[in-house]
Symmetry: C2
Subunit: 361 residues, 2 copies
Amino acid sequence: MTIDLSAVPEGGIGWLSGGGEHADIVLSTRVRLARNLDGIAFTGRAREGERLRVLQMLRDAVPHLPSLRGGVLLRLEDLDVSDRRLLHERHLVSRELAGLDGGATKGGAAVLVGHGHGIMVNEEDHLRLQTVRGGLATRAAIDALLTVDRELGSRLPYAYHEEFGFLTACPTNTGTGLRASVLIHLPGLVLTKEIGKVLSGLQAMGLTYRGLYGEGSEVIGNFFQISNQTTLGRSEDELVEHLQRVVSHVIKREHDARRVMWREAGYIIEDKLWRAYGTLRFARSLTFEEAMNYLSGVRLAVGLQLINGLSVETLNRLLIFSQPAHLGYAEGRVLGEEEANVARARYVREALGAETDQAKH
Amino acid sequence: MTIDLSAVPEGGIGWLSGGGEHADIVLSTRVRLARNLDGIAFTGRAREGERLRVLQMLRDAVPHLPSLRGGVLLRLEDLDVSDRRLLHERHLVSRELAGLDGGATKGGAAVLVGHGHGIMVNEEDHLRLQTVRGGLATRAAIDALLTVDRELGSRLPYAYHEEFGFLTACPTNTGTGLRASVLIHLPGLVLTKEIGKVLSGLQAMGLTYRGLYGEGSEVIGNFFQISNQTTLGRSEDELVEHLQRVVSHVIKREHDARRVMWREAGYIIEDKLWRAYGTLRFARSLTFEEAMNYLSGVRLAVGLQLINGLSVETLNRLLIFSQPAHLGYAEGRVLGEEEANVARARYVREALGAETDQAKH
C-alpha cells in the first residue's frame, strides 16, 4: 500500500506553519506520555495476539474521544518501507516502530495521527501519546495532551501503581511517563563556541540533548533536541515548567551570542551566511548534511534580518521535505543516494527561488 | 596627479570587448618588440639625462606616426602609486617600470597608450612596443605592431647589428626583440589533470608559460600566459606562426578535455560550477584568488552553455576590474585588503546580477 498523505490531518506536520513563540529559534515543542494497558504484557514480551488486542482496544476507544476526531490510523505492516521512512521523517513514528533498524515491522504496530496529536501503538510501551506544537509551547502542548490522555484513560485500563505512577517498560519513564522536548536552533552558541558550556549546564539541570535526527545521532545544522531525562517523582506541570524555564534561558543565551557575534565579526558572518544561501540557490547536488548546514546558515540569516522574504514556515518545510523519503515521495519512486542529492538540490533551489525572487536581495 | 582614464584610448583595454577567434578560451594575444636607441646607454646603465633624452625623442617622433594618432603619454613619476598599479593591472606597464617592486619610479619612465598599442619608455629596453588583441590573433597583432615599429624606426635611430639583429639589454631578446604571448583559460585540462603533459609539451616546443599576473607568479583561476622563449635566429613571422600553431593545438586539447569531463562527470562539474556562480552572486567578501577561481568556474560554465546570458566581455571585465587598484579607483580611494575584499564581492555580485537577472537560470 502507498500512503495517502492527503488523508492524514495536516500531513501530521501542522506545527510546520511556524506559529508559536520564538518560532524562528524553537522549531517545535513535543510532549509524549507513555501508557500501558493493565493485564497485557509489555510490548517487548507480548505475543502477536496481545499486540493485536492492544491495537483493537485503541481502535474501539478512538471513536468516543473528541480530541482525536478526524484522526487516521495507519498500520505500519501495510506500508512500504519508503512510506514508513516518510512517517519517521515527520517524527510521527520511531525508527523501531517503523522497522527501520533492520528489524521487521511487528504485527499490531500502528500510528494514529490526529490534529496535532499522535499515538504510537505497540512501541516500547503499548501506547505513546504525543502532541507537537510549533515554537516554544510546553504549556499548550501538555494541556492538549493531558486532554487526550484523560479521554483515553476513561476508556482504557491504564497500568498504574499508587506509589510509582504510570508503569512503563523502561523504568526511566515510570512516574508521569512524560517526555517533553523542544527542537531548537542554536547557531549563535555554536559559532561563538559557547555551546559546550550551555549543554553541560543542561545536564546539570536534569535535561539532556541530542541531534535533530534519531537517538544518539550527531548534531547537524546546529539543531538540538533538548528534553527532560527523568520523570519519576515530579508532576507533569513541574516537568514542563522546568523545561520551559531552562529553554527560555537558552534562547536568551542564543540571542546574546548572536549579538556578540554580529558586533565582533558581522561582516565575516554576513559573508558566510550569504554564501550558504548562494550555494543552496545554485547547487545541483546536495548531501543531506550539507543541506542542513547551509539551511542552518539561511535560518540564522533570516533571524539576523540579513535575508528577507523567507517565512519560518518555508524554513521548516525545507528541513522536513529535503529528507530522502520525502524527496522520493515527491518524485514517486525510491531514490538512490546520488539521485536524492540531485533531487534535494532541485527542491531546495526551487523552494528558495520561489520565495526570494520576489523579495529583495 | 590622478589619472584620467577617460582620456586614455579605450582605457588601454580595447581587447576586453571579446572579439577575435576563440575569445571564450583565449582572452588576449599580446606581441611586443624591444627596441633601443643607438648611441644611448641601455636603461639599466643610463643616467637620468639619457633617459629623459629617450623620452624626448619619442615625444618628438609620435606626432608624425599615423598608427599612434590619439595616443596619450603618461609619465609614471607624475602618478600616485595607486594609478601606477592600475596601469599595471591593465598590463600597460610592467611592475618594474611602475616602481611597484619597492624600487622608486625612475625619471623618464613613461607609457604611451594608443588604440590597441602601447609603448613603455625606459623599461629594461628604451622602448617596448606592444599590441594587444582580443582572442587568438597573432597575425593581426604582429601586423599592427610591425606598422608601429616601421613608422617609429623611420624617425628614431634603432640600435641594430647586421648579424644579431635588434640589440637589447637582455640577450634573450636580441634578434627580433619579439615576445608574443596569449592569455588562455584551461580549466578542462586542469580538471582532467592533463595540464602537466600539455605544459611540458610547450617547453619542448620552445614556448614557456606563467600565471596570469606578474613574472613567475603562480597560476590562479586556470589562466595561463603562453609565450615564446627565444627570439634570435627566427623571423617575426616564424615566431608568431609557431605560437599560433601550438596554441591552436592546446585549444583543441582543452575542448577535448571538456568533452571527456562532461561525459564522465557532467553532474559533478555542473554542481561545482553552479556553486561557484552562487558564491559569486551572494558572497559579501572575496579574496582576489577566490574571485579568480570562481570566475574561472563561471567562464567554463558559459563555455559549456550551462550558464547563458553572460558575455565574454563581461567575463573579461570581471577579471580586470576585480583587481585591487581597479576596485580602489572605482571607490575613489585606496582600499585596505579587507575593504578590497568587500568591494570586490559587491562589484562581482552586481556585475553578474545585472547580466543574469534578465537571463534564465
